[in-house]
Amino acid sequence: MNKKQKEQYLRDYGTLKAQGKPFFPYAVAKDSAMAVIVMIVIITMSILLGAELGPKADPTSTTYTPRPEWYFFFLFELLRVIKPPALVPLATIGVPTICLILLFLLPFYDRGPERRPERRPIATTAGIFVVFAIGYLTYLGAAAGPPTEIDIPVPANVRTQGTTAVANFKAGEQVVAQSGCAACHKFGENGNSGPGPSLTRVGARLPAQAIQRTLINPTAPMPSFSSLSEESPKQFQQMVGFLAALK
């Protein structure tokens, strides 16, 4: 904004202000009404949701799945999305710091006199993009389960084969989840996308025989499940059956 635009703004603003109403009681009435609404929301939430306390802090736990409060989900998801170890400082410190500096300095690089959102296409688009990005990351963060849990709807062809097939499918799902496969493979919405390939449709790509061979003689860095096939062949067969049914 140059000097003339500044003067123009102050003049327009002065006119609008002169035509306005006094803060007290007009704006104060609105503010108070809003304060009442805020209080009603807080009190309703407190009565309905309560202040439930989780289990006591236990640093020796190896089974707990830490998750932050919902308003930090977007930062949490950022840490999950940025995978390469070399980029970890970028995800933890770099991106948030850059975003914060951009936010702080906003009035110093966006100095145009225009205020209407529809006439500031870049700013408005960027703003909407940021809102959606944060919303999407929050959704992903909220949906991210622990890698020892897999929950896949039973495929239609398994369901038509009767209850034993469904039970076997569920049992195999359990074995796969507890074996930690989801740490490296993706199963639909569950699991991590890497370093292993997605197994959402592995049954369509490979027959059961090939899956069994791969489980016993995998290519590094995948571990061999030959000890599982020797110690409990039933569980191993359930695992193979589950993977082969993913089509």
């Binding site: 003049r11 006119t15 202040a51 932050p68």
Partner: protein, 270 residues
């Protein structure tokens, strides 16, 4: 230039002259009480001159078109006040030690009269405050209200946003359940990933190389003294600037000069 004014003892602006036809002096206990209250306020104002500031704050005009979007800032402040009050009362029962924190929160939830309710208000109030401050920032952004002459107020607002997030983060260690503990471990380690200073920063936050005996009281001091004090101070400055510069009008409202001035257009100036 104005004439030099000699200082005179101020007359009490709140005491209005008596209506004609009335007897001099108060009659009846009600009028005596009213008289007493008015003169007490007048006594304070004679010594502080606060009424001028109050009048400046309350009777300033807000521009045409001011709508419900403009209540987001004051409701954020209201949520902060609610947090401050419920927080003070929680502090009366809370014990910031690694061995007793969890039990003291259990005691608040199960034994204290209205304990779980006040605890829940503080907990959900934090969510509401975070939502409100983001909505308030979104309104400011999309209305272009951060532009001249309100740049500084935007900067203060972003600082307040950062501090609000710091409050939520330092607050959720305090109940000392599993979520609190591990979220704090991760949060402190995030600070540790900054090159060179990071390791010392995380050690400063933990008061040592491990989560130790004084980590919890350190977070407690940050949560209830350091950051809220800074928030209150900055909020005061934020409000002062709002009152001084005025709230913006919605960007789609055009200023129309009064009829009398409209003819005085300079030729060539469109």
């Amino acid at each position: 230039m104005a004439k030099i004014k000699l200082p005179a003892p101020p007359s009490n602006p709140l005491v209005s002259p008596k209506r004609p036809g009335k007897k001099y002096g108060p009659s009846g206990p009600l009028e005596h009480a009213e008289e007493g209250a008015v003169s007490a306020v007048g006594w304070i104002d004679e010594r502080t001159s606060l009424s001028g500031g109050l009048r400046w704050m309350m009777f300033r005009k807000v521009p045409k078109g001011t709508n419900w979007f403009y209540t987001l800032g004051s409701s954020t402040m209201f949520a902060f006040l609610s947090q401050a009050v419920t927080g003070v009362f929680l502090a009366m029962y809370y014990d910031p030690s690694a061995t007793r924190a969890y039990q003291s929160i259990q005691f608040i939830n199960n034994e204290v009269f209205l304990g779980e309710f006040v605890h829940a208000m503080h907990r959900w109030g934090s969510s509401v405050m975070v939502i409100l401050i983001f909505l308030h920032m979104g309104r400011t952004f999309f209305f272009g209200a951060y532009k001249y002459p309100r740049e500084l107020n935007w900067v203060i607002g972003v600082a307040l946003l950062v501090m609000t997030m710091t409050m939520s983060f330092s607050g959720y260690l305090l109940p000392f359940d599993q979520r609190s503990y591990w979220a704090t471990i991760v949060g402190v380690n995030i600070n540790g990933t900054g090159p060179l200073v990071g390791p010392y920063l995380s050690e400063f936050l933990r008061a040592g190389p491990y989560f130790g005996a004084t980590t919890l009281s350190r977070f407690y001091a940050i949560h209830m003294l350091l950051v809220p004090g800074a928030i209150a101070a900055l909020m005061g400055f934020h409000l002062y600037l709002v009152a001084k510069l005025g709230t913006t009008a919605p960007p789609w409202i055009r200023a129309k000069a009064p009829e009398a001035l409209r003819e005085e257009k300079i030729p060539g100036d469109s």
